[in-house]
Symmetry: C2
Subunit: 313 residues, 2 copies
């Protein structure tokens, strides 16, 4: 159904924060005709100016209060560490019966920091779309970002099932598959599938960067042999990722602990020349890749469909 105009799911959606995620949501909402009106607000004049110039949201507001007034859905699309302050700012202006959701990459911490600010009679349904790129800002979004990706909803206790169903309908209209889970489980699964991989990629790129200076750009020049795939991950927004690690500390540290344990075992196998250990480990990890392709979460095209011919011209 993606791409076909549908009945609006909400009358007025307010996007607070106008970066990669909010702008992609807007283009997908517009593509699907999912809202009567979309208002937008970002803290900086520069971002609001850009949004007005490129037509990002139907109405760009100069205050968060103005943006959320009369909205039946408010989406917090700012870094996790900024959620509490933004929630405090908008709370007095929320319409009765409105739903507040967020798109933050960590859920327990957002629930604890946003929840207390929201007034009675407002539904709070935390969410997290599992899609992104290494780019950020209002001009980085595109309508297809969420197509065929997962969006996790993390309803808190006592949430009205009707309100959840409506938010689910929005994300489905945006192109996502929706699943519900609890906050702690979310934070652990994401520590494995996203947060720890990002930290490791950042670390590897940092190590290479140190050596890169020594070897005069060779690390960049010869990056196609594996390293470059780490650099994409490690090019993501520093503020966003600082906040993720500060707020999903326990789960990330737990997975990191397991990671270093396994890494030390492989390191020992290299040192002692234990080829069987290495071979068995590398064979086991191969199967998981097949699972991901079968689950439709990646392409089997060589080189991710990068086209070297094109980059040559």
């Amino acid at each position: 159904m993606t791409g076909v105009a549908q009945a609006p799911v909400y009358n007025r959606i307010a996007l607070i924060g106008l970066g990669l995620i909010a702008s992609s949501m807007f283009w997908a909402i517009q593509r699907g005709g999912l809202a009567g009106e979309v208002t937008g607000y970002a803290r900086s004049q520069a971002t609001r100016d850009t949004a007005r110039r490129i037509g990002l949201t139907d109405r760009v507001c100069d205050t968060a209060a103005e943006a959320v007034a009369g909205a039946d859905l408010v989406v917090l699309a700012v870094p996790v560490g900024a959620m509490a302050a933004v929630a405090a700012e908008i709370a007095p202006h929320l319409a009765k019966g409105a739903t507040v959701t967020d798109v933050g990459s960590v859920k327990r911490s957002v629930i604890e920091s946003v929840g207390p600010h929201l007034p009675e009679g407002v539904h709070f349904i935390p969410g997290h779309p599992l899609a992104g790129t290494e780019h950020s800002g209002p001009e980085s979004g595109f309508a297809t970002l969420f197509d065929n990706r997962w969006c996790l909803l993390v309803p808190v206790e006592g949430t009205d099932p009707q309100a959840t169903a409506r938010l689910r309908a929005l994300w489905e209209g945006i192109g996502s598959n929706v699943e519900e889970m609890d906050a702690d489980h979310h934070d652990l699964v994401l520590a494995v599938t996203s947060h720890t991989p990002h930290l490791i990629a950042y670390t590897m790129v940092g190590v290479a960067d140190d050596l890169g200076r020594v070897t005069d750009g060779e690390v960049i020049k010869y990056s196609a042999a594996g390293f470059r795939d780490f650099t994409r991950i490690a090019a993501s927004d520093p503020t966003m990722w600082r906040d993720v690690f500060l707020t999903n500390k326990d789960a990330t540290l737990e997975i990191l602990g397991r990671f270093t344990e396994e890494l030390f075992a492989l390191q020992r196998a290299i040192r002692t020349g234990d080829g069987d250990h290495l071979f068995d480990y590398f064979t086991r990890t191969r199967a998981i890749r097949r699972g991901i392709i079968e689950a439709g979460q990646d392409t089997a095209a060589p080189d991710f469909g990068r086209t070297p011919q094109v980059s040559k011209s």
Copy 2:
């Protein structure tokens, strides 16, 4: 010039081993008209049958001796750990004045294990094309694999510059940019740009796989948030990678040591809530990505140009 028929660089090229690298070389050699004839040999009947069926090489031979007879270039395209035995097998059958090269991912060890087997009057010029995919075997190759990628040549002392120039012309005809460097430097640069990143990716996938069983496939389902890019790297051939780590032990262990040092510093920053340390680190690593795009070694397209719309249908 890629894609345009050129004058043959060699009269007869023998490919020993018919996997991803050899088959991609063949299609590119054919595309460029770079050899009068290409012969091929692989140890297993199954691979030779497949090669005959798909027209991989002009003449598939049942012995290595037959394949190298009369060849003016012999390419060893087998795992690094198998190079010595293959060199011993072909040595008595090499034509006088022929060049022997290899495509192994480690160079010091190949020089030490292959060199002593080769007779006087044969040029030995080790090489390493920096391009690959996670697929292997005779059917995984394609002509454009090496386009705009680097091929490193590692001539040993006393190599005839003419022979090196000719091998360079072949790789340029195949589509690569060619650079020369010494073996130890090669092994260190590759430990940074390829070998350590692969080990880390294998480790992360192993950790996730353990947890994946617990959380019933969620790791696969939600892999698009970063993890899936590791799984591609960690789906590469186990034999090849076992051999790489066993033969590039010192450089890999050195880079791994630096990696764990940096990782522990970041881990401590997470534990103590030192957001500035995290932010500064993540900012620094961002720049290196820009360098890679500028160097033409990757695309800036969101999501590597993966097209979720297509995978949806």
